[in-house]
Subunit: 468 residues, 3 copies
């Protein structure tokens, strides 16, 4: 019994369904462009087998385990490691059984959609996961993982990935990327420059990080000039390891364009740990503008994704640390927040700034009007909780009329769940084709144009926005 | 001529319509669980006939009369009592005729949908209400009301209500509930603990209310400890009258988790009437956390429904008082507002906190991410202006992908219009089935699962969330 | 080959499509009521030919050129005049070719929809605009413009416009309107009173403007009383030139109801240029309430459209001035902002206040609840970026259930692109009929009522709201 419907996500009305299917057939086979994500480059460097089904699907994926926690399971029962190293479940089969017994909680969610897609299309399962089928599914997947066809590189090739971007901190030595390149394997895995640890005065160990940053780059990062030069040097180093973009996840979209003297003074305050929260936010905002200026020099695309109130539960953060499903979005302002950066470099035609949001109310009111005016701006795809059919539908319905298709940046999967990549890109292609079919069916787009747009949304726009 | 379409609210596309109808057929006959509402328990205690059509449908229902007021009728013309006891229309037939002559104003609204449903299915009318049919409709309904089949208890049974919760203030003696129980009638009508008058320092007569609260409970409510104990005692008293929940309608979702010393000091300030607006808000916020802690002891579900700017028109409030259709929603923050309460008790698996909103922008951005992480949280159904087809559709489309179905709390009607109860639950069942049919039709949910979910949304989830 | 689909914007499902088409057939031929817009009255006064295709479609329309700018063209290349009079493209054919070569950027936008509609239905073109067809289209349109059938008055008549409102500043001499009237031409072109230059203390030259205002009205506008009287006199002057409304575009919806003494003091401060930004905002807010009071005297409808952060790009503003596509919407509060005005005059049954928004989140949460209660309020149609199929759909879906149809004000086109007027009204009629068909198909509205509502949305409601 197939786990997925071949016509999933297409409109039900027969004429629209036919149209959507035709559009989809034109793009279903295109290679995957994944310009933003969180896969571990070590997988492709070492090419070792994935350990077991629980560690592949449950333990590392906060989208999966937070849902189980929300209905009364504990993080310990699901094998999520504690900060203090205290005891948690270590039997992967026990974890898997708990997951399977609660699989109904995912009904109607994008997690269920990509899990079923992976189960069926990556592992060839034909039974629905449940308490009853838990062991059989476990054994089947585990047996697959032992096969050479299921190593990271084999899956990368089978998934038809043309390029996969990972994300590394500014202090990373990029040794896995180097190892991939030196291995002779031809899969294209590139890094992305993520300097939060040396850009955010509130990051744990900021001053020490900046010192290490100086050591790595050979610059005196105790001075503002040396610090900026160190960024230029590290960006170049990342570029040499394939990077075409930098990535910045701040709580707000605030930008600043201070005088260099004021920026230097603020930097000194940050190094001393003396910034107020507002000054720390201002420094992060100044650094976005500095990054944009460096992008004009070295061509890296600048990605801004504000709006998450991270580690919302003090208790979960204390016991389990970051990225445990308790990052909660909040309202985000873009119009006044981005003005300093846009006044500085917004009219530059060669610059690419990709904006993301976790606040859907900004799409029509702020983001599409901004992207429909400033030449440097592109809208990133809906992501996190909005990387889904409804998320994509609302994104297109809220932005297309104001900024068209060509001010959007194609799809990215933003995932650390490698096996979900084909499913996520498939959802995006289907959802976009469903939207385009609706436009054609209601006389808002010519059919020939819809085919061209489908191709661009799937392939060209991501390459253009990220210089890939 | 039927006033309602048997396939109303189902998708029009034939395959989806058939699917929605099948899902609906499976739940249409289930009993009504009404865990939150504002019916008057006296109706069921005394079981007297409802006075006349105007007082049943127009005079007490601010959803109905505010629409007439918005188009130029006056509250006086509609018989709404004045604060000063001054003259208003007293002829129910004259009120009814005005209502009937303006019935076209309700086109496309949920009010029209439930009114037509009541006219047809409760009273057996077969003509559309209008100036022409006003008298005939009046006479027909009035004649029905004189029949024993139309008394409150008879209708309760005919409506197939398994349990109906009313809402009473913390100072209420619950005599009608006692009278219902002592009458031997088996209809289950339970109360809900609503302590606004003794929890909100800005409530009229707060200090006197707290004093009366002490008298009722036999505690010294001039002290913080005695005040808290009085709550425990009154909650128990309400539990003995069937309560399974408390209910809190503050202007904001603010919570606090002050030290007991600070809370006690703030309480003293509140008793003296010396709180600033911000301190009053902080005290209300502290009491939400105290209530949550008491819920952990006594098992009452905690309901939080913030966001209304009440009595917006100073003129209407001065002349007619509260609840006159001029409560206007505003923007509501949940992410930072709820953090103190959630840090205190949010990870408790036995606690149930039901969150409501009047700000739809919070569904996808804040409420679903919170409910999809914290074990204590459940999302209440869309209500007030969003207790409607579109309201339910947007709620499901905005929340399901992030927190699934099982972090929602089923439907509640929140009404003081008794005859609207079957119609409102019917709208919810149809709207949910329409949504589920859409999921099945687009391959996002298996058909067998959709039947299970329909049952849970209609019946199980409300019982679970409210401990009924 | 037709450029537009005769069934465009109707639902695809055959039963709904048939229903929508029937509803549309009943209103497609009704005359156009355009109660709010920005056409130049000089066109109709002089009745000269429109200069060329580029100056008709590209150069003056910031919706068109901002999209081209967002993808890397410069304002200079598109012939937009510079503030300093420096060189820009002057060859209309070169501008047109650039526009044509980038016409794919408009795919899926309302601009493409009205441009194609104009090309086909106003000018009789039958080929799609592109780099290849640019010259042929240019020549065809240019040849048309030379014909007497394409003069402003001829097009006005052909467009079946019953009344067209333009917008003039309070200091305007209205000579073009006088010239139209004196010409004996029977087309009804009326003005609208827009006093920003004498109401906004932050407007360039405010004090001088107020002085000129005094000279025009013969009042001593150095005093608060004289200033108010001057408004009364100018409003009357505008009324004599057909005005039935005033128009106010502030950054916020703030209103105030200060004592006359406080207002007078604030006015003096404004005249001296001594207002803080907050005081300037308060003065604008006070003037909204004063305008509302004058509306009670003279019957002009008051239009409030807040929420735009104007001239977002400092660079574009410095080089090209206002209205260059860089007005970006922001969050807008109505509930507390409008309270002072509504407390002053909100319950007046003869007053008409039309509220607009650029923040769609306000529809369901704030605007519909307010309009569904206060007798003076009507909701203006979705506009700017929301004057579109999706904009209208979301507006109806978010407001109808709460305030019905009869608290909305019909459609207005708000355009300076004369040839887009028939297309824009056609989009509104089709979108409303599509929505009504959906209501009928799902049993939420009777078919006979839908026909009545379609007529009201197209014709009656605009006339009623604007006293036309």
């Amino acid at each position: 019994m197939p786990l997925t419907d071949p016509d999933r996500l297409f409109p039900v009305e027969p004429a629209l369904r036919g149209l959507a299917r035709e559009l989809y057939d034109g793009v279903a086979g295109l290679p995957i462009i994944s310009p933003h994500g969180h896969c571990d480059p070590r997988w492709f460097a070492e090419n070792a087998r994935f350990p077991n089904p629980a560690e592949l699907f449950v333990v590392p994926d906060h989208y999966v385990f937070r849902m189980l926690v929300s209905q009364g399971l504990t993080l310990e029962e699901l094998g999520v490691p504690r900060v203090d190293g205290g005891p948690v479940e270590t039997d992967p089969r026990a974890i898997w059984r708990r997951f399977a017994a609660h699989y109904h909680l995912f009904r109607g969610t994008p997690s269920a959609m990509w899990l079923d897609h992976s189960f069926e299309h990556v592992f060839g399962l034909d039974q629905i996961l449940s308490a009853q089928t838990a062991d059989a599914c476990y054994d089947h997947i585990d047996a697959c993982l032992a096969q050479p066809d299921f190593t990271p590189r084999a899956l990368f090739e089978r998934f038809n990935i043309e390029v996969l971007a990972t994300t590394e901190g500014a202090l990373d030595d990029l040794k896995w990327h180097r190892m991939i390149r030196e291995s002779g394997w031809t899969g294209r895995v590139v890094t992305t420059y993520r300097p939060d640890a040396v850009v955010d005065p509130e990051f744990e160990g900021f001053a020490a990080n900046v010192e290490a940053f100086g050591a790595l780059s050979g610059e005196d990062t105790a001075t503002w000039e040396g610090y900026l030069t160190a960024h230029r040097i590290r960006r170049l180093f990342f570029k040499q390891h394939g990077a075409t973009a930098s990535d910045h996840g701040h709580a707000t979209a605030r930008t600043e364009n201070l005088s260099q003297a004021d920026a230097a003074a603020l930097f000194q305050k940050a190094l001393k740990g003396a910034c107020t929260p507002d000054e720390a936010d201002a420094f992060r905002g100044q650094m976005l503008t500095e990054m944009a200026r460096m992008s004009l020099e070295d061509g890296l695309t600048l990605q801004i994704h504000p709006g998450s109130r991270r580690n919302h539960s003090a208790d979960v953060f204390a016991r389990f640390g970051r990225d445990k499903g308790f990052d909660i979005p909040g309202r985000t302002d873009y119009v006044s927040a981005l003005k300093p950066l846009l006044d500085a470099v917004g009219m530059e035609r060669e610059l690419r700034v990709v904006l993301f949001t976790l606040d859907e109310t900004a799409y029509g009111r702020e983001l599409a009007p901004l992207a429909g005016a400033y030449p440097c701006l592109r809208l990133g795809p809906p992501w996190w909780f909005f990387d889904s059919y409804e998320g994509i539908r609302k994104f297109r319905e809220a932005t297309t009329e104001t900024c068209g298709f060509y001010n959007t940046a194609g799809f990215n999967d933003d995932t650390r769940a490698f096996c979900s990549i084909p499913a996520r890109h498939d959802v995006a292609r289907r959802s976009d084709c469903a939207y385009l079919a609706q436009l054609v069916g209601t006389g808002r787009l010519r059919e020939a144009d819809a085919h061209a747009v489908a191709y661009d949304l799937t392939y060209s726009l991501a390459k253009e926005a990220y210089g890939l």
